[in-house]
Amino acid sequence: MLEVNDLMVFFENALALNGLSLKVDEGEIVGLIGSNSAGKTTFINTVSGLIIDMRIKEKRKGGERISIYGNIRYQGEDITEMPPNERVSKGIVVSRERHPVFQESSVVENFKIAGYLRTKAEIKETMDFVFTLFPPLSKLKTRKAGFLSGGEQQMLAIGMALVVRPKLLLLDEPLLGLSPMMQKAVMDAIVSLNKESGITVLLSEQFARPVLPVVDRAYVVENGMLSLSGTGAALMNNPEIKAAYFGV
């Protein structure tokens, strides 16, 4: 479904991704494990196309130069230079790190804004589905998103991505800063989206412990380079991974 070959990304002269290659097959959950500033967000943004927008904006205001080399293929098509809104129409939807939501808008309104490409009926249908997936949200429909807790905002952010009806869902550190209970709720929801709704998932995380047991395969990135990859189970038993990414 997704095939990334030799991806290199420079911010000015600093190399953020160095020859990364990765593959996601339809129906898989794939993990991208890496410590802080390993390049996870840069990778996710390059696949979602946000980096294309960043590059244009930086260029317009004479800011830093962003260069992208290598190629990204999605369902057989080269999308390396495709603008983000076209990728969204093709089913690549990202939920960015730190669960950004529209703070001034209510929970329901956040869904409505996210449903820009969908009909009112489709938005309503997904919204009801999200409320069953994340029951705590259903009691907060009229609450301003800025007043939600971090975990609730994360649920909302994932729910908003679902409203778009993704085929490939990119999740950038969905567990960051959540309590263990919230982490479990979010992880369970991700698995059910994959198994029951058939959504292909690529998710990034700093810590391997909650991720490896549920992913089909995972890639480990260090300093923008691939250091290891394999099935979730194989990586779980790898002593290097245990030492570096299992935390305490």
Binding site: N85, P100, S105
Partner: protein, 290 residues
């Protein structure tokens, strides 16, 4: 006299809000301070005048053509001028102000000035309300500004484009992740702002005459109202229009018309001293807290 003053203060408030809403819409969504806004206002007025008096087409046709033309002109200005300097606030201001200046000075140069350059009032009648005479045009402005605020609210809460406007205004990069095209939305925001300038002209110009100098006046008033309100906030525009609208009329009546300008300026300074981000400058405050 008090009820009369209050009535005229309300009308003044409506005029100020009408003048400021378009500028505010554009700024609130795309962050573009459109300094050609006053020129768009005048352009639409001359456009309507020309279509009626030179082309002899019916007034309603002239109105529609002028609004649509203004919207197209705004969109073209975004695509061909603003897009090149996007993100550099100063360049955006210089570019739009330059365009506005060119338009207004061109009209002066060709001598389109005088009492014959005016637009007709909708209905030539006056009414006595609680002992004060008010003409139909001013009542129309009052009624329409209320309707317009409601329409804008409805548009931004119940249509996909309006909701996308609010999304882009709050968090552009997140809006992009839902397939919203930020350049298209920004184009629309400048275009709608220009269209609202035409609408404001069509209601307000009949109270006086069309003059290039009015363009600067409208820009300054729109700016003042938007800055007091906290740039980009519709609630702020309404509150600020009330403050300035009432301050002006009450000074006029009870102190003297030569003080009007000073009192409004004092109101601006006072608000900005107490709350530098404007009355409803919420977004700013959030940023400051983070």
């Amino acid at each position: 006299m008090l009820t009369g003053t209050i009535l005229y203060a309300l009308i003044n408030t409506a005029i100020l809000a009408l003048m400021a809403l378009g500028f505010n819409l554009t700024f609130g969504i795309s962050g573009v301070a459109n300094f050609a806004y006053g020129a768009f206002y005048i352009l639409a007025a001359y456009g309507i005048w020309g279509i009626v008096n030179l082309l002899h087409l019916p007034y309603p046709v002239a109105i529609i053509v002028a609004i649509v033309a203004n919207m197209i002109f705004g969109a073209l200005m975004y695509r061909f001028v603003l897009l090149r300097v996007r993100g550099q606030a100063l360049s955006e201001v210089i570019a739009t102000f330059g365009i506005g200046l060119a338009i207004l000075e061109l009209f002066s140069y060709f001598g389109w000035v005088g009492f014959e350059y005016t637009l007709p009032v909708f209905v030539d009648r006056s009414f006595a309300i609680a002992g004060t005479y008010v003409d139909f045009q001013r009542l129309a402005i009052l009624g329409f500004s209320v309707i317009l605020v409601f329409c804008l609210w409805w548009f931004t809460h119940h249509t996909a484009t309006g909701l996308a406007f609010r999304g882009i205004a709050q968090d552009e990069r997140t809006a992009l992740t839902f397939g919203i095209n930020s350049d298209w939305i920004a184009t629309l925001s400048v275009s709608f702002g220009a269209g609202l300038a035409a609408v404001a002209a069509l209601f307000i110009i009949p109270l006086g005459s069309i003059a290039p100098g009015e363009g600067y006046d409208v820009l300054i008033k729109a700016l003042a109202v938007c800055i007091i309100g906290g740039l980009g906030s519709t609630g702020g525009v309404i509150a600020a229009a009330f403050i300035v609208g009432f301050a002006e009329r009450f000074t006029d009546t009870y102190i003297g018309s030569h003080w009007t300008m000073i009192v409004s300026l004092a109101a601006i300074l006072l608000v900005l001293t107490i709350k530098p981000s404007g009355l409803f400058g919420k977004q700013k405050e959030l940023e400051e807290r983070i």
